[in-house]
C-alpha cells in the first residue's frame, strides 16, 4: 500500500513538472522529431544530468542500488526503430500520453488505447521474439565507465559539460 502511495505522489510531481515544462504536447514532441523545437530535449537532458549526478552520489554512499538493464543489440535496435515510427504517428510516448490527456488533449486517448493493444500483441509475440531477436548481440549488463575501464566520476563530468555545451548551442540557434 505504501508503495502505491509513493507511486501516485511521485507521478503527481512528475506530471506537474511535465505540464509546466510544456513537454506533453503533440506540437512539442513532433517539433523535436522535426528538429524545429528542442523543448523536450532540454527537459530530458536536464533531468538526466541531475539524476545522473544524484543517483551515482547516493550509490557511492551505499544508499541506493543502480538498476542496469541488459544491453541486447537485437531488441534495442529493432525495438527503437519500431518505437520511433509509432512515436512519430502518435506524437506522445507512453508516459506523456497520460499527461497530455490530463491537459485536455484527448486525442491522446486513442494512443493510450492503441498502446494497450500494442502491449497485448507484444505479449503474444514474445515467445517467438525470445527465440530470435533477443538472441542477437547480448552484451550483458554493461555501463559506459565499465566498458571504458574508468571510474564513473570521469564519465559523469564529461557528459555534464558536453550537455551544457549542447544547450548553449541550441540557445544560439534559437531551437
Amino acid at each position: 500500500m505504501n508503495m502505491l502511495i509513493y507511486g501516485l505522489v511521485t507521478g503527481l510531481l512528475f506530471g506537474f513538472l511535465l505540464q509546466k515544462g510544456r513537454v506533453l504536447r503533440y506540437d512539442k514532441q513532433l517539433g523535436a522529431l522535426r528538429l524545429q523545437d528542442m523543448t523536450i530535449i532540454k527537459f530530458m537532458l536536464s533531468s538526466v544530468i541531475v539524476g545522473m549526478v544524484g543517483i551515482y552520489l547516493l550509490n557511492d554512499l551505499g544508499l541506493v542500488k543502480l538498476s542496469i538493464k541488459a544491453t541486447i543489440l537485437g531488441p534495442v535496435v529493432v525495438g527503437a526503430l519500431i518505437f520511433g515510427v509509432g512515436w512519430g504517428l502518435l506524437g506522445y510516448c507512453p508516459g506523456t500520453s497520460m499527461g497530455a490527456l490530463g491537459e485536455g488533449r484527448w486525442d491522446a486517448l486513442w494512443g493510450i488505447l492503441g498502446m494497450i493493444v500494442g502491449a497485448s500483441l507484444f505479449a503474444k509475440a514474445f515467445p517467438f521474439l525470445e527465440k530470435t531477436v533477443y538472441t542477437w548481440g547480448n552484451l550483458g549488463r554493461i555501463t559506459v565507465p565499465q566498458v571504458l575501464g574508468v571510474n564513473h566520476w570521469v564519465i559523469i563530468p564529461i557528459f555534464v559539460v558536453g550537455t551544457l555545451l549542447f544547450f548553449r548551442w541550441l540557445e544560439k540557434k534559437g531551437l
Binding site: G15, V23, I82, G99, L101, W110, F122, P127
Partner: protein, 132 residues
C-alpha cells in the same frame, strides 16, 4: 526561447524532475518508467476474458497483471498534469493538435484518431521490445 504564458523554463522543470527521480530511487527504490504499466493493464483486461489463458503466457508471468508502484506513477502523471493545467488556465479540450490541424485541417478528428491508435500500437510494441 519563446515561452507561452504560465510555462516554466524547460531546463528548470527538467532539472526539478531529475530531483524527483533521485528522491524516488532513494526513498522508494523505484526508477521512472511507464510502458510496463501498459502490459499490466493489457493483462488485467485479458484476464476478464480468460484468466487461464493469461496465466499460461510467459510474458504475463514475467510482468504479472496487477497494480504496482509504476501503475500508480502513471495515474499520478495524469493527475499532476491535470492539476498543473487547471490551476494555470492552460487546460484545453482538444481533439486535434495545432500542428496536425495546420496540415490536415481542424475537422480531421477521425483521421487523427486512427493515426494515434495505430501509432500507439506500433510505439508500444517497439518500446516493450527495447525494454524502455
Amino acid at each position: 526561447m519563446k515561452l507561452d504564458k504560465g510555462a516554466w523554463n524547460p531546463y528548470l522543470a527538467g532539472a526539478l524532475s531529475g530531483l524527483v527521480g533521485i528522491f524516488s530511487v532513494w526513498f522508494a527504490g523505484q526508477y521512472f518508467g511507464a510502458s510496463t504499466s501498459f502490459v499490466r493493464t493489457a493483462g488485467m483486461i485479458e484476464q476478464l476474458f480468460g484468466a487461464e489463458r493469461v496465466a499460461q503466457m510467459s510474458y504475463y508471468a514475467k510482468t504479472t497483471p496487477h497494480i504496482d508502484w509504476q501503475w500508480m506513477f502513471v495515474v499520478g502523471i495524469f493527475l499532476g498534469s491535470l492539476i498543473a493545467a487547471l490551476t494555470s488556465g492552460s487546460f484545453k479540450l482538444q481533439a486535434v493538435p495545432d500542428m496536425w490541424a495546420k496540415r490536415f485541417g481542424k475537422h480531421s478528428v477521425s483521421r487523427r484518431a486512427i493515426t494515434a491508435f495505430i501509432g500507439g500500437i506500433v510505439a508500444m510494441f517497439g518500446a516493450r521490445m527495447a525494454d524502455g
